[in-house]
């Protein structure tokens, strides 16, 4: 008897099977976009040492239970907060701990406001009844204020270091290991930490 060729498998329904699977994955897919404001909590310390900070170096932000905002003893709208915080941080009215003047500040140099970005502290206090949405919008404005100053500084000193036309956020994005940016990432990271030192984020939350 002659050897028979193996019968061909009908592949006509392959498309149907693939479609079925495709539809299943289409339905279950959630393209998750995980974005958020990164913050760092202060570590628990047993020894409560009181550091004396001059009142003029503290920018108090209070949120009450009715979602109202009080900044330095005055009511304020959330939209005005960023500008007020920038003005406070960038004031540069005095010297930092080493006795140096802030030569990159562009503020009014008001002796009654903060001495140096290095010393300026934003103190945020909220009540238990404050809504989370409101808290985040305030938190967003304060982080935004730091970003405004850092971006400005990055555009100022970036060209000297060979990073033209990049603001701070872009620098941070480019310095990540996963980014496809071509350039000296090590040098960029140094610049980023320099800017971070010049405008340190000192945002303290009162419990």
């Amino acid at each position: 008897m002659a050897k028979r060729a193996a019968p061909e498998v009908n592949a006509g329904s392959m498309a149907d099977i693939a479609f079925l699977l495709l539809i299943f994955f289409l339905v279950t897919t959630t393209m998750e976009k995980d974005w958020g404001i990164n913050r760092k909590l202060p570590p628990m310390e047993d020894s409560q040492e009181d550091v004396i900070i001059k009142q003029k170096n503290i920018f108090t932000v209070l949120l009450n239970g009715k979602d109202q905002l009080q900044v330095e003893d005055e009511l304020m709208q959330v939209k005005d907060l960023r500008a007020a915080a920038v003005e406070f941080l960038d004031n540069g009215g005095g010297t930092n701990a080493d006795g140096e003047k802030c030569n990159y500040c562009k503020g009014k140099r008001n002796p009654k406001s903060s001495d140096h970005p290095d010393k300026a502290i934003i103190s945020l206090k909220n009540e238990r009844q404050t809504s989370y949405g409101f808290y985040i919008s305030v938190q967003n404005e304060l982080v935004g204020a730091y970003n405004v100053l850092r971006n400005r500084r990055a555009l100022e000193i970036g060209p000297q270091k060979g990073f033209r036309g990049m603001d701070f956020l872009e620098m941070q994005k480019n310095s990540k290991p996963s980014s496809t940016w071509i350039g000296n990432k090590k040098k960029l990271k140094e610049l980023i930490s320099q800017i971070k030192l010049e405008y340190p984020m000192k945002l303290s939350e009162v419990q």
Binding site: L21, D34, W35, Y132
Partner: protein
């Protein structure tokens, strides 16, 4: 007899669908790779606030999620209408957070542990009292890196 036969017009010729499975498979693989199976079903309302100064969470496997919000419809009777914490699939109390963080840490490799981030997915209508309690609890177990999950909104 002509060399070029006139085509017989027997309607439209059938389209060759032999490559259809290939196309479908290509799509299938894309979605298979892109799919992230939600690891916990939400039992609470979770409408995140929006913010503009947000950063992307890079490494998904190094993120611990804490959900906070009002219990959703089916659970209202049982758990009331006050904002509650959800860890993994269950409702939890503030005191359970320490154990949850310890369990998550034990799951990860040792060299990864310092990079763990806690993502707080809190409903925007929840109040700060419960969030403050969570933060205090996180400080106790030294999980200091947190991320307030919010929706990216460049306009404000």
């Amino acid at each position: 007899m002509s060399k070029f036969k006139k085509k017989q017009d027997g309607g439209v010729p059938a389209i060759n669908t032999a490559s259809l499975p290939d196309i479908v498979f290509m799509l299938l693989f894309f979605f298979m790779v892109a799919t992230v199976m939600r690891d916990s079903t939400l039992k609470i309302e979770n409408k995140l606030p929006s913010a503009s100064e947000v950063e992307k969470l890079e490494k998904k496997n190094l993120v611990m999620y804490i959900y906070v919000g009002k219990p959703s419809k089916n659970y209202k009777k049982q758990y009331g209408t006050e904002a509650r914490i959800q860890l993994n699939d269950k409702f939890a109390e503030v005191t359970d957070i320490a154990a949850f963080i310890a369990a998550e840490r034990a799951d990860k490799r040792e060299e990864e542990r310092p990079f763990l981030i806690t993502s707080l997915k809190v409903d925007k209508k929840a109040n700060m009292g419960i969030v403050g309690d969570i933060k205090q609890e996180l400080r106790k177990v030294n999980a200091l890196k947190i991320n307030y999950a919010s929706i990216r909104n460049m306009s404000n």
